[in-house]
Symmetry: C2
Subunit: 113 residues, 2 copies
Amino acid sequence: MVVDEAGGAAVDRIFHALADATRRDIVTRVLRHGQSVSTLARHYPMSFAAVQKHVAVLERAALVTKERRGREQVVHGNPAALRRAARLLDAYERIWRDRVHAIDQILAEDPER
Amino acid sequence: MVVDEAGGAAVDRIFHALADATRRDIVTRVLRHGQSVSTLARHYPMSFAAVQKHVAVLERAALVTKERRGREQVVHGNPAALRRAARLLDAYERIWRDRVHAIDQILAEDPER
DNA sequence: CTAACGTGCAACCACATGGTTGTAGATGAG
DNA sequence: CTCATCTACAACCATGTGGTTGCACGTTAG
């Protein structure tokens, strides 16, 4: 009935994290290879703290992870969460295309990670 | 590289519209067949006005359309926009999946990081 | 050791969001 | 016609968001 249910909040966080061009750009950027927060910050016309917040949002959505490396904090794309997000988008696409249900299965098999 | 370019704001609206469980539910619901706003509202534990706002958000994202039918306003899923959205999600998915796949390969052949 | 750098956090601001209630205009039912 | 229904919109409130600046702390470079 309710399509999300179990993973609802997580899905909220994922879509919300993706609803910002800067954050989408950060994700695609760090997927190439990890970058420190300050290195990332240099690419955007905003303060370091602002970029730091964006990274925090992506982190809460589990789309990226941070790895301490000396005094730097290296941001990586999170393969597992990204795959989950991709499959989630798949499921919605399928619903919309075929007008069938069956998204619950996908969410059920990988609940709230 | 830059997936957004022209439609950046539109992408923002689409992902933002999807970042709410109630709105996602409305979309899947009206895809089965159009429903009036008040009919929709009866399914959710919130006021009619709140549901009306959610529909407005979905409408701004072009994920649904409204059709006057007598005194009712029937909400439909917008097939064209939905397909475009699905394609858009596809594009992101492909980028990410390819990169994730590459990352997995690297990790697979060199387990110790 | 000292200075510079990278980070995290808090305070603050303007504005959007998600919810409420209330009101008013169209439209259909009786 | 009259009344109930559906819709739209405005005002309002609490909270969240995206941005800023400033400061403190740990770590690295010289």
